[in-house]
Symmetry: C2
Subunit: 358 residues, 2 copies
């Protein structure tokens, strides 16, 4: 895992230098000090990550990691797994929710086939990095091999490096994969030590009976794979998914490359959790786009003393909450760049009065 | 108060007809049912208010009501009252936070001089409706006369009627007035019955000693004006401000004209509170843009079982939180209009596959 180790060794703690400079400028603008709350904190954080007094997030992209899951055999979702490739096609056609959100945020969308059970034709913005045709059913053993897990994580790392080369200034994670809230809750339970009941929700909208079954499936899976649940990467291999591994690698890579990365809801956060556990400073590069309605998401955010930008009861995935929050970040940066200082405002007022001969 | 009574009598309860149609379309789009949470609820609400299956919020405007306050004699703010006209000039010059937010939301900004202690030259987008040169110090008696309060409210109503004629599809309230969190908290305490301590915060950023004084001022003001605190409009007259009265009238007018109106933070909510108390259905036309960091705001939102769109510890006023939330609403409407239905997605996928000869 040479790429992985090299990447991990490059993660650095943020310096206060640029965040202090940014806050100083914010404090000089015409409003009571700190009256924009989290908007100011976010600008200061972007400045620190980008190591610039004036952060820029013009170039934005959401990375949607897609995969299928053997665990769907256990009837844990409302939808059949054929929906995963169908949704990928909708992303490629620009017709899904994430496409609308990305256009609104002026962000690109890249879809990564991490392991969908379907062969896609070549297509712009579809990056085929297939590790397999869906994971194995982790009720009967690990979801993937050590080698597959490594490859999937390295794909995520490589994408972050590529993003840096392409000049991406703000990244977001997204996911697509029928059944993928089940591995998400399993990964979160295994890493945080919370019970499956505490961190498992209804996903696409299963009923009470379905939820009971889903929790049982996770409980059994954690038992079956117990010997592997010794460290975060092993947990990922045992009860995660290819898209979770891709997201874990991508978040790690963004931290190494100093790209601010917005993590979306439950699925993205389960992937990010693996990365966050690997290094104490990775969390400094992460923004939490929204607080999902899906049970279990809070357990990840609070573990890192995070606070989500939005809290709108969304539970779609695709990167939707992360992408929506980009508009808030964009506006925070605009405020930072465009609002007058007290001195500039005096000059502007004088100009108005002169023009009116007052 | 003929305009006032006529307006009140025109407020109608929302029908479910258009919100049900909107929800039906949302349910047909390619994602799990109701997975966009509040975004879907907001679209359905806009449809109900506008009485259209496809709501449109292309034409947006934020109305910033400005006034001065006699209570500033009691040293309740960090800033001298000269800052009120200075900030109005900054709004006119397009240099303040609200201007940046409005540009980001593609919304207009109108500033209404409800009673600033300054004579402004004529200027585009400054609407001079001066009721006085600041209110009286309400520690010594009512802040304004019955006649002044009525005029200020009718100004707000007239602005809503004008907005309708101009085709404004989404309105937001904002405020500017040094010292105006003090009347806001006084109005909220008097109407909700909560103690001044529970609903009074630091405003522009006063220290512990200042906060103690501010609470005392409000306690005394409520005592001095006790005989007037019999109904919401009297409360407004006794311990409110001209901008609060303008906002109260504007919210009432928006409900009568069926214009969805986003209420901003503490000051706007204190004004809106007066309107909301007058008629049980006005709340159906109101959206709460954000949950302010300023103490007292929650008391208003929860009184009407509301939920704010954003919660970012903002406490600026100017309409800033309301204006920022416009982008979320805009995006919700875009999703509603642009995301494919399951049937449309099938067609799009077929097209991709044919193009690729798969």
């Amino acid at each position: 895992m040479r790429l992985f180790d090299a990447c991990l060794s490059r993660v650095q703690p943020l310096s206060n230098l640029y965040s202090d400079l940014a806050q100083k400028r914010l404090d000089s603008q015409i409003r009571p000090a700190r009256s924009l709350g989290m908007l100011e904190e976010m600008v200061a954080k972007l400045a620190a990550i980008q190591e610039k007094e004036r952060p820029s997030i013009e170039r934005k992209c959401v990375y949607v990691f897609a995969g299928d899951h053997g665990i769907t055999e256990e009837n844990v979702s409302c939808y059949p797994r054929e929906v995963t490739p169908q949704m990928v096609y909708s992303f490629l056609a620009g017709k899904a929710t994430i496409n609308v959100l990305a256009r609104a945020a002026r962000a690109g969308v890249k879809v990564i086939d991490m392991g969908v059970d379907h062969d896609f034709p070549r297509w712009d913005d579809l990056i085929i990095k297939k590790v397999g045709y869906g994971t194995a059913n982790f009720m009967r053993g690990p979801a993937m091999s050590e080698e597959a897990c490594r490859r999937a994580m390295e794909t995520g790392i490589a994408l972050a490096m590529e993003a840096k080369r392409e000049g991406i200034e703000l990244a977001a994670t997204g996911d697509m994969g029928i059944g993928n809230t089940t591995p998400s809750s399993a990964v979160i339970a295994a890493i945080t030590g919370k019970s499956p009941r505490e961190v498992t929700g209804r996903g696409t909208g299963i009923d009470d009976e379905g939820l009971r079954r889903k929790i049982e499936v996770i409980e059994k899976a954690l038992e079956v794979n117990q010997s592997l649940l010794t460290d975060p990467v092993r947990v990922l291999q045992a009860v995660g998914g290819y898209e979770h591994a891709g997201i874990a690698g991508f978040v790690l890579g963004c931290a190494a490359e100093k790209i601010p990365v917005i993590v979306d809801g439950l699925v993205s956060s389960a992937g990010a959790l693996v990365a966050l556990e690997l290094h104490p400073h990775i969390k400094e590069y992460v923004l939490w786009g929204h607080r999902s309605f899906e049970r279990g998401h809070d357990a990840v955010i609070t573990r890192y003393q995070g606070r989500a930008i939005l809290d709108l009861d969304m539970r779609l995935g695709e990167g939707s909450g992360a992408c929506l929050s980009m508009q808030i970040l964009d506006t925070a940066v605009k405020i930072y760049n465009e609002v007058a200082t007290f001195e500039e405002a005096r000059v502007a007022t004088r100009k108005i009065l002169e023009e009116k001969n007052v």
